[in-house]
């Protein structure tokens, strides 16, 4: 299977603080890679670096070309805080990039957007503004907004962290759907149960490096590294496993 993304020894620092430290990662097509780790371990920074929202300092990043706009056309990204455009309707949020970036005409973009909204039970929200939607609905719209561009790789950055527990599942079920459709994904999450369901590979991050990687079964249920064990123990105590 071809790799969609290959990172080797990427390095990123904010000032003197080293956030990513010679981190390597390859993501084969049609797989889901789950990043776990405590806050500040570098998960979000890694995702932002993949999308080139952050510049990479010491880097080898292949396949996604060097042209920033080119890279982003191939990647979709969904954020913890949804980041829908509040001055645009749901439909306009979704069609903006297909029209302006991919040069589709308005009718074509609208048809695609409405089909996606229908598929994820949001058809009746097309003309609403984001502030009329629940958090779960907003996040689903944000996912659809990324999907409308047919990304080769979808980056999901703790997409359920800002949602109340009742709404988490409606968002995660979309991700499960996408996974079964064969979408390639890299996601950072604290939902370990969900990670077990979708992950082809789980990576445990600590201080900007991947300390342990393997199948969900191995990393989440039989971790070898003492730091992974410690982290999962704390997650377990918090009732999240």
């Amino acid at each position: 299977m071809a790799n969609v993304l290959e990172l080797s020894k990427i390095r990123k620092s904010f000032g003197t603080e080293l956030v990513l430290n010679d981190l390597s990662l390859s993501v084969p097509e049609h797989t889901a890679t789950v990043l776990i780790g405590a806050s500040g371990s570098g998960k979000s920074t890694l995702l932002r670096c993949i999308n080139l929202l952050e510049s990479i300092d010491g880097e080898e990043i292949s396949d996604p070309l060097i042209n920033v706009d080119e890279v982003r056309r191939k990647l979709g990204m969904v954020f913890q805080s949804f980041n829908l455009f509040p001055h645009k309707t749901v439909l306009e949020n979704i069609t903006l990039a297909p029209i302006k970036v991919q040069g589709k005409n308005k009718d074509e973009a609208t048809t695609t957007a409405l089909a996606l909204l229908k598929r994820f039970d949001l058809a009746d929200k097309a003309d609403q503004y984001p502030d009329r939607l629940s958090g779960g609905q907003q996040q689903r719209v944000a996912i659809i907004r990324s999907l409308a561009l047919n990304p080769r790789l979808l980056l999901l950055d703790e997409i359920t962290s800002a949602l109340d527990p009742v709404l988490v599942n409606e968002v995660l079920s979309i991700v499960r759907d996408l996974k079964s459709d064969g979408m390639t994904m890299v996601l950072a999450t604290h939902e370990m149960g969900f990670a077990t369901q979708v992950a082809d590979e789980v990576c445990f991050l600590e201080s900007g490096n991947i300390l342990e990687r393997g199948s969900a079964e191995d990393v989440l249920h039989a971790p070898k590294n003492p730091k992974t064990q410690e982290f999962l123990k704390r997650v377990h105590q918090a009732g999240r496993l």
């Binding site: 929202l53 706009d69 949804f82 980041n83 829908l84 455009f85 903006l96 302006k100 958090g135």
Partner: protein, 288 residues
């Protein structure tokens, strides 16, 4: 359940008591407000009409017949102020937007222009408008450049536009800076270029956010167009001045002031309302 919803709801005796208490309190507050207003305004009125010069002031500032006589010339002058406000306002909008975009861009190629824009804003925001009007109004004709009009209305407008562009640029820039970086990140992650991000995502939100302060500046602009009278433009202020100096009766000034107020007070009320709506809208903007 549905039975309870359908049956007419009647307030409990405690609720009725609470309502009575609230009504009593608001009635008492109404009385206090009325008394206080009467006392304060009444006192001011008495001080005014019993002042030693009141009789003279009444005939020189509030001469209704003379006011009626000069009204047409003052209102003709006010028309100049309004024209100046709207034409100048349009020019200010365009220039200010350009300055604000220049000052917020990160493009290295535009660095010299960014520097110039900053210098421009510093100079024109820092110098008194009346000095700019004098310098432009008398300085530019002195250059004797070909093709540049020495029409005082034109030069006065230019001076006002130069100064207000600097003010308004800063207001727009503050709006641009107030948009959360996550909006930009979302737009960029969708593949929009930085120009498209500014045009379709940042600027529409920024402008909406600064509408109230912009309306404020618009009101100030209308008032400050009165300053071009020092160049000899026959606007409302100048028209009043001509009439006043002809007869040594100052009623034309009062007429001009009242005419300005008739326009600016509704505008400020409207601005206040826009600010209130803005604040209400912001409270439901939580998750961006």
């Amino acid at each position: 359940m549905s039975e309870r919803v359908n049956s007419a709801w009647s307030p409990s005796s405690r609720e009725i008591q609470r309502r009575g208490e609230r009504k009593r309190i608001s009635r008492r507050q109404g009385i206090i407000a009325a008394v206080s207003t009467t006392v304060v305004l009444g006192t001011l009125f008495i001080i005014l009409v019993t002042s030693p010069g009141w009789e003279i002031v009444k005939t020189t500032f509030f001469d209704i017949d003379y006011g009626r006589e000069v009204f047409p010339t003052v209102i003709a002058g006010l028309w100049i102020n309004l024209q100046l406000t709207f034409i100048g306002g349009a020019a200010i909008g365009v220039i200010a937007l350009g300055l604000a975009l220049l000052r917020t861009t990160k493009s290295p190629a535009l660095t010299p222009f960014r520097f110039l824009a900053t210098a421009y804003v510093d100079i024109f925001r820092g110098a008194p408008l009346i000095l700019i009007i004098l310098l432009v109004g008398f300085g530019v004709p002195a250059l004797q450049l070909k093709g540049i009009s020495s029409n005082v209305i034109f030069l006065g407008t230019v001076a006002v536009v130069l100064t207000y562009s600097a003010y308004v640029a800063e207001v727009i820039r503050s709006g641009i800076l107030s948009i959360h970086p996550s909006q930009r990140a979302a737009a960029r992650s969708l593949g929009l270029t930085s120009g498209q991000t500014m045009r379709y995502v940042v600027l529409p939100q920024a402008i909406r956010r600064v509408v109230p302060p912009l309306l404020n500046d618009f009101v100030s602009l209308l008032k400050d167009t009165g300053l071009v009278s020092i160049l000899g433009v026959t606007d409302a202020v100048r028209a009043a001045q001509i009439n006043a100096s002809r007869t040594f009766n100052y009623t034309p000034y009062v007429v001009a002031a009242v005419l300005f107020l008739l326009i600016t007070i509704p505008m400020t009320r409207y601005t206040d309302r826009a600010i209130r709506q803005r604040t209400n809208a912001q409270s439901s903007e939580g998750a961006i």
